[in-house]
């Protein structure tokens, strides 16, 4: 019984660790950024030269990213951007449909920043923040 329990506990642990977190990525030569810089960039503030990419609305990784980095739910983010758009202050970042598209978009521009599930990270991009 004890054995069964420990196996159960172990498998729960491995499931939990297998649930990889979202990471912020840049081009291979990009430098690390702080969590507050990431928050600013994904809310349209900060460096004007940065090219920010988002996953499409409704994507689970997108929701996870925003709950940990900008602290906004899907509808709050939508309300935030509608405020920016209708006051002429800015437009939401360009969107890509999946992790592969995100990686190729980010890899091809040294000023680009995006996010993907940690499990999708490969050599084409660099992890610049683990929120």
């Amino acid at each position: 019984m004890k054995k069964v329990l420990s196996i159960l506990a172990l498998s729960v642990c491995s499931i939990m660790s297998a649930q990889a977190a979202v990471v912020v990525i840049g081009a291979p030569g990009a430098a690390d950024i702080s969590a507050s810089d990431a928050k600013k960039l994904f809310l349209g503030k900060g460096s004007k030269s940065a090219v920010v990419y988002e996953l499409n609305e409704g994507n689970a990784t997108r929701s996870e990213f925003h709950s940990s980095v900008t602290g906004k739910s899907d509808s709050q983010l939508k309300a935030f951007w509608s405020k920016q758009v209708f006051t002429g202050k800015g437009n939401p970042p360009a969107t890509v449909s999946n992790a592969a598209a995100m990686k190729s978009a980010v890899a091809s521009n040294p000023n680009a920043i995006g996010y993907i599930d940690e499990a999708d990270v490969d050599a084409s991009v660099r992890v610049i923040l683990k929120p």
């Binding site: 081009a27 291979p28 030569g29 507050s36 928050k39 600013k40 809310l43 503030k45 900060g46 609305e57 409704g58 900008t70 602290g71 906004k72 739910s73 899907d74 509808s75 709050q76 939508k78 309300a79 935030f80 509608s82 405020k83 758009v85 209708f86 006051t87 002429g88 202050k89 437009n91 890899a107 091809s108 521009n109 040294p110």
Partner: protein
């Protein structure tokens, strides 16, 4: 496994020729980087018209009714679908990376769906962070001034009228200049504006020319807290009370303080404003506090607001003027915002206005009865159901 077999010899050769490979990699990297830069340059050059042009819109459909005909928030005892219903379309054209043209057309049910340009301006951002705009712009007096009509971007069914109806105009023709100071974890924005406007509201009996509209505001935000201070003034010329009171070059001054907090769960918004006008027109002071708490897609909120004139003593010797201009009101709202589906919020709101003192409380149909020596209504309840969408 196949991959590993392939990678193995490569790994060995990498390990064997570290210096050579490192040099090779850096020049390869450089070439790759240059290629990327050329690509992104080409991309930005061939950026199509559709990428430079953006089209957005918003729609609000509201049901409003009241328990009496006092006219609070434009409501009557019969169901009204046009008072708070509106539609807006906005086109944004990026002429260059630094210059943008914006046009927003609005249609309001309360204005017989007449098409008006609320925003129509050219904006230019300089490299040093200064942004100038010219054209038709929103008067930035209140926290929600810039997106007054975009219900979706607001927590409540409507910004409290105790504060927001103290200024009868919401846009002006002129220009502004703004500068963003990027602080470590926050942004401070200073904005100065100037221009002219006019008010022609037959329902309220207002016919005013507003010249030398000018002001300055400062706002600071770290994206959780926001604080704001504003001062504005204008010269008024024309008449109020459907021509009964002539206004000849009187100066009106506005001051406002505002703050908001939004940590993702709790929302708090508060504003305090004063209006001071030379001559018989009323000076007033008003404020509100809204608190809300998000529970998934539901955000219940409560608002307390007040409004009072601050210069009654100037009119106390002339009763008709006192009846016309003195105002006093408290308002309590309970509401719920429901983020029903993507891009659509449904709001339910009950607002109770009371404590008018010996005044009409600012309600347009609350007439003085000389026989009883009192006003007809001493309170009013307004019910609102509103759909706010953006696209």
């Amino acid at each position: 496994m196949k991959f590993n077999l392939k990678a193995l010899p490569l790994a060995i050769s990498v390990a064997m020729l570290p210096a050579y490979v490192a040099a090779e990699e850096t020049s390869d990297e450089k070439i790759a980087k240059l290629e990327q830069q050329v690509q992104s340059l080409q991309k930005s050059q061939t950026e199509s018209l559709t990428e430079r042009f953006r089209f957005n819109g918003f729609i609000s459909a509201a049901y409003v009714s009241s328990d009496n005909s006092a006219g609070y928030n434009g409501a009557t005892t019969s169901a009204d679908f046009s008072e708070d219903s509106k539609m807006g379309f906005q086109g944004t054209f990026n002429i260059s990376n630094q210059t943008t043209a914006v046009m927003q057309l609005m249609m309001r049910g309360s204005n017989d769906w007449e098409v008006e340009a609320e925003w129509a301006y050219l904006a230019h951002s300089f490299d040093n962070g200064v942004k100038i705009r010219g054209g038709k712009l929103r008067v930035p007096l209140f926290m929600y001034s810039d997106y007054l009509d975009v219900g979706y971007a607001q927590p409540f069914a409507r910004p409290p009228s105790e504060v927001y109806s103290q200024v009868p105009f919401s846009s002006y023709t002129g220009g502004d200049i703004a500068y963003d100071y990027e602080l470590e974890d926050s942004t401070l924005t200073i904005q100065a504006f100037g221009g002219e406007s006019d008010v022609n509201d037959e329902d309220e009996g207002l016919d005013l020319e507003l010249s030398n509209v000018m002001g300055i505001n400062a706002s600071w935000t770290d994206l959780t807290w926001t604080f704001r201070a504003v001062y504005g003034q204008t010269e008024l010329d024309g008449s109020v009370g459907a021509g009964t009171v002539v206004v000849d070059k009187e100066t009106a001054a506005f001051t406002g303080l505002g703050g908001s907090y939004d940590d993702g769960n709790w929302i708090a918004v508060a504003e305090w404003t004063t209006v001071e006008i030379d001559g018989v027109l009323a000076d007033s002071e008003s404020a509100y506090l809204t608190l809300g708490y998000r529970i998934n897609e539901f955000t219940p909120y409560a608002t307390v607001a007040y409004l009072k004139t601050t210069d009654e003593d100037e009119r106390s010797s002339i009763p008709p003027l006192a009846y016309a201009f003195d105002e006093e009101r408290m308002a309590y709202s309970l509401g719920l915002r429901w983020d029903a589906i993507e891009n659509v919020a449904v709001k339910f709101d009950v607002t109770y206005a009371t404590d008018f003192g010996d005044t009409h409380g600012g309600l347009s149909n609350n007439n003085f009865n000389p026989l009883t020596g009192k006003f007809m209504y001493d309170d009013s309840m307004v019910y609102t159901v509103k759909f706010d969408a953006v696209f």
